[in-house]
């Protein structure tokens, strides 16, 4: 059994392209070309050169000695927080901007929630001198002011999404509507392993550099390519998909997905899609999503803006439904504490998204000889105000 996408764009029963006909030519053009373009030597060369010289890859695989001591197991941190712009998101935007150029597009659109993907998109558009429009929910614009300023400095236009609940899902709707209205010259850089086929697969492939590096780095440090566990937080699921990618079909590697429980799974203020979601259609993909019994998509909640998406990528829905992945949800409080603990034990201030992943060591026991790789998806600079408010710093 393979956990990768099949030729029709499905992961088990999940995935596909549930899009209005207006988007068919756009996604079809991408579907027919993405694998071929990605396989071109000139593409690979430029992609890897930019990842090395511009993003700063490979990111270190760091043995966290004091954390390992505390939790009595071997913990490695994959330092995506050290990427240019502060998170893994840029791996995908570098790949997609090169894809857009190969497809002859001269205008980029993107959605963003917390602003991390928006900043990563604005960054690569500045790098390539391409026009960039980022949709962001009106409410998120108000609560993520520094990232809005960053995008503007980088030359992007930030357009408020005024519809629906005015957050990430609505920003995604607006980006999709823009694409319907501009089907020829525009490429949509989606920010996670979500959306219609081939996006989940394409984004996972761009992010798969994370697990490719883990393999060779672990070989050097532990004399083996395969860890016992890979842990990652899951919003839409892109950093997780990248960290799992080369281990998906290796059953000896345990896959742990960490979702945001918000104030608690049963409080009505949560973003734990695997626990609360049902199969349905969101943003063109058949996957697990949070919705009313009537099929209206509901608004999730998490202290971490990067995790409050009401769905999850179809790969993750499949990992959950098939039992291949172990899904754990972590509350706001536990995540915040785990974030502070990492600061104190290792001198690293993590993004609150990543703090959710770190929190599992308080809840789940590992054997002393286990090698656990935790994907530290981003740094905490963007979350400083949240940390200040939470801890009264």
């Amino acid at each position: 059994m393979s956990y990768h996408v099949n030729e029709k764009g499905y992961y088990g029963e999940f995935g596909g392209a549930f899009i209005p006909e207006m988007l068919y030519p756009n996604t079809e053009e991408l579907r027919q070309n993405y694998l071929q373009i990605m396989a071109e030597p000139s593409f690979q060369e430029e992609f890897h050169q930019l990842l090395r010289d511009y993003v700063g890859r490979p990111t270190p695989l760091y043995y966290a000695a004091r954390m390992s001591e505390k939790y009595q197991t071997k913990i490695y941190l994959k330092r995506e927080d050290l990427c240019h712009t502060g998170a893994h998101k840029v791996n995908n935007t570098i790949g997609q901007i090169l894809m857009a150029k190969k497809l002859g597009k001269n205008r980029i659109i993107a959605e963003t929630g917390a602003g991390q993907h928006g900043v990563a998109t604005a960054t690569v558009c500045a790098l390539m001198g391409i026009e960039c429009v980022v949709y962001m929910g009106e409410i998120d614009i108000a609560r993520q002011a520094p990232n809005v300023a960053r995008m503007k400095m980088l030359g992007a236009e930030v357009r408020p999404a005024l519809s629906g609940s005015r957050t990430l899902k609505d920003a995604t709707n607006e980006a999709i509507r823009d694409w319907i209205n501009n089907p020829v010259d525009t490429h949509y850089i989606i920010g996670s392993v979500v959306g219609p086929h081939p996006y989940p697969d394409m984004v996972a492939r761009f992010q798969s550099v994370i697990s490719e590096e883990i393999k060779s780095q672990l070989l050097e440090k532990e004399g083996r390519e395969h860890p016992d566990y890979v842990v990652a937080c899951v919003g839409g699921g892109s950093n997780a998909a990248g960290a799992y990618y080369h281990f998906l079909d290796s059953p000896e590697v345990g896959i742990i997905a960490v979702e945001a429980a918000g104030k608690g799974i049963d409080t009505g203020e949560s973003a734990a899609t695997s626990a609360l979601g049902k199969v349905g259609i969101i943003h063109g993909s058949k996957t697990l999503l949070m919705q009313t019994p009537d099929g209206q998509i509901t608004e999730p909640y998490s202290i971490s803006a990067g995790l409050d998406y009401p769905g999850v990528g179809p790969l993750h829905a499949h990992l959950f439904a098939s039992g291949r992945g172990e899904f754990i949800s972590i509350t706001d409080d536990d995540a915040m504490k785990a974030g502070l603990k990492l600061c104190q034990l290792e001198g690293i201030i993590p993004a609150i998204e990543s703090s959710h992943g770190l929190a599992i060591f308080e809840q789940r026991k590992f054997k002393p000889e286990d090698v656990v790789v935790m994907n530290l998806s981003g740094r905490g600079d963007k979350d400083l105000q949240n940390y200040i408010d939470y801890f009264n710093l």
Binding site: P20, I180, D294
Partner: protein
């Protein structure tokens, strides 16, 4: 015979109107349908509101948000329509997004539609291949017509494929856009209308998106069998409530 099919055989250009169920008021559904029929409208698309209407512009989005806020939901719409065939005889189509139908259960949804006298469905985000493989037999079992969209970007080959699977009419989206009134049709639209007319498809076409007045209706139906008005009617309802529908319809033809 399915009411849509017999309507399509009438020797006239068809005027079809879309409105969002539950807007402007929760209980306007039946009276709006009756008023539209009384004023000579040929066919009606009843919008089942959805939280995330991807293919819609601001006007229909806002009406959907308002309708959901008013308390509209699938079972309630079915309940409102339970006696509709005692007073209304023109074709009725439910238009909505796939997720609410999927949650209701596609078979259960189709069955209910058939019981109520609904003649067809338009679900823009239910893709052609999935329909054919998983749901076509259910639609057929309940005598429901499934309507597919084409756009100016749709290739001839794909249009032929859609024409093959369709058994009623093809919803011809006027331009590459979400729903909402445009400033009229230009040369690009005319070229598209001409291209489709030349293809001599098996199914008649009804044009939608951007039809708002007499002029755009006339232009769209020069070659196509009919046209659908959505956003312009929603605006009328927003400004007038469920009143003066006669005036609105007379302004179109």
């Amino acid at each position: 015979m399915n009411r849509i099919k017999s309507k399509l055989q009438e020797d006239k250009k068809l005027l079809s109107i879309y409105f969002t169920a539950g807007f402007p008021n929760l209980d306007d559904t039946v009276s709006i349908i009756q008023e539209l029929e009384n004023n000579g409208v040929d066919m009606i698309e009843i919008g089942l509101p959805f939280s995330d209407p991807l293919a819609d512009g601001p006007t229909i989005q806002d009406s959907s948000t308002a309708a959901l806020h008013n308390g509209m939901h699938t079972e309630l719409l079915f309940d409102q329509l339970k006696d509709i065939r005692q007073s209304v005889s023109i074709p009725l189509i439910i238009m909505g997004y796939f997720n609410p139908v999927f949650q209701y259960g596609v078979e259960a949804f189709c069955k209910r539609c058939a019981e109520l006298g609904i003649d067809g469905l338009i679900l823009p985000d239910l893709p052609l291949d999935v329909y054919e493989e998983e749901y076509k037999h259910i639609f057929e079992k309940y005598g429901l017509i499934n309507v597919f969209l084409i756009t100016p970007q749709t290739s001839d080959a794909r249009i032929r494929q859609i024409d093959d699977v369709s058994d009623g009419f093809i919803y011809m989206v006027s331009s590459a856009s979400t729903t909402g009134a445009k400033k009229g049709f230009g040369a690009e639209q005319q070229a598209y209308f001409d291209r489709i007319a030349r293809m001599e498809l098996k199914n008649p076409q009804i044009v939608g998106f951007g039809i708002s007045n007499q002029e755009t209706f006339a232009q769209a139906t020069q070659q196509a069998k009919g046209a659908i008005i959505g956003s312009a009617f929603i605006k009328h309802l927003r400004e007038n409530g469920p009143e003066k529908i006669d005036g609105f319809v007379k302004g179109i033809r």
